[in-house]
Amino acid sequence: MGTGSRSVIILEELTAVVLLTLMGAAAIGIARQRNLFGVVMLGGIYSFLMATVLVVLDAVDVAMTEAAVGAGISTVLLLGAIHLTGGTESKPIHRPWLPLFVVAVTGAMLVYGTLGLPAFSDPKAPIHQHVAPRYLTEGPEKTGVPNVVTAVLASYRSFDTLGETFVVFTAGIGVIALLRRRTPRRPREHDQEDRKS
C-alpha cells in the first residue's frame, strides 16, 4: 500500500511536469508565431494542456470549464475575430527589451514570493485550517449535496456565485451594446451610414 501510493504520487508529479513543459513549449510557440491562425490553435492546445493539469490536480470542475471555455468557445471566438481583422500579426515597432526586463523582474518577484508560501497541498496551511474543514465535514449533511464543490459554490458562497452570474450577464450586455446592429439593414446602406457619421 505504502509503495503503491508513493508510486502513484511520483506518476502524478511526472505527468504534471511533462504537461507543464508542454505548456511552456506552447507559450514560447505563441510568442514566436506571427501567423495568428497558428497562435489561436496553439492557444487551444495550451488550454487543453491546462485542463489536463487541472485533472491531475483533482480539480475536475475547473478542468471541465477550462476545456469548454478556454479550448472550445474562446478558440471559435478568436477565429471569428481573425476573420474580421486579418491573419498576420504586424511587426512590433519597439524593441522587446524593456517589456522583457519588466516581465522577467515581475516573474522573479513572484517566484520569490512563492518561497514564503506553505508547501503545495500541505494540510497545515492556513487556507486549509479556516473554513475548509467545516465545509468538508458539515457540507454533505447540511446541504445534502455530496459534491462539496457544488455545495460551496451554490450554497455557502451563493452571494459570490450570484455576483459571478451578474458579471457574465454584464459582459454579455457589454458585447451586445458594442457590436449589435440596431436593425438588420443591407450592408451597402450600412456602409454609407458609417462613413457619414
Binding site: 470549464t65 471559435v76 471566438l77 474580421l84 486579418g86 452570474t165 450577464f169 450592408p187 458609417d194
Partner: protein, 145 residues
C-alpha cells in the same frame, strides 16, 4: 459544398449527445463534477457547433436572437428570484433552508434553481457573443486592406 456531408452527418449525430451530456453535467453536478456554468458552456458549444457546420442563419432559426437575449436576463432573474423567495418565506436573502419544510430538502431545491439560473445566463451570453462576432461582416476591413 457537397464534400462536407461527413461533417454534417457527424454533427447531426453528436449534437444530441452533447446536449444530453450538458443536462447530465447540470443535474449530476450535485454528485459529480459539473454544475450550471459547465453545463451552460456545453449547451452554448453545441449550438455553436451547429452554427459552424450548418451556417449561422440555420442556427439563428433554431435559436433566435430574441430568445437568446431574453434568456440572458431570465437566468439572472431566476437566481436573484430564489433569494427574494427566501426573503418572502421569512429567511435571509439566498437562504435555502426556508425553501422547503425539511432544511436539507430546501438546500437541494435552492441549489437546483440557482444552478438553473447560472446555466441559462451562461449559455445565453456565450451564444450571444458568438452570434454578434460571427454575424459581423468584414466590410470595415475590406476598405482598409
Amino acid at each position: 459544398m457537397r464534400l462536407d456531408i461527413i461533417l454534417r452527418v457527424i454533427a447531426k449525430l453528436l449534437i444530441p449527445f452533447a446536449l444530453v451530456f450538458a443536462l447530465y453535467v447540470q443535474f449530476h453536478g450535485d454528485f459529480g463534477p459539473g454544475g450550471g456554468f459547465q453545463a451552460g458552456v456545453i449547451v452554448a458549444a453545441s449550438v455553436i457547433f451547429y452554427a459552424l457546420i450548418y451556417g449561422l442563419p440555420a442556427a439563428r432559426r433554431v435559436v433566435p436572437d430574441a430568445l437568446v437575449e431574453i434568456l440572458l436576463a431570465v437566468g439572472v432573474l431566476i437566481y436573484a428570484g430564489v433569494g427574494v423567495i427566501g426573503l418572502l418565506l421569512g429567511g435571509n436573502y439566498l437562504d435555502y433552508f426556508v425553501l422547503a419544510g425539511d432544511p436539507v430538502h430546501g438546500q437541494h431545491r435552492g441549489i437546483l434553481w440557482v444552478e438553473l439560473g447560472v446555466l441559462i445566463t451562461v449559455a445565453a451570453v456565450m451564444l450571444k457573443v458568438f452570434y454578434v462576432f460571427a454575424g459581423r461582416r468584414r466590410d470595415a476591413g475590406e476598405g482598409g486592406e
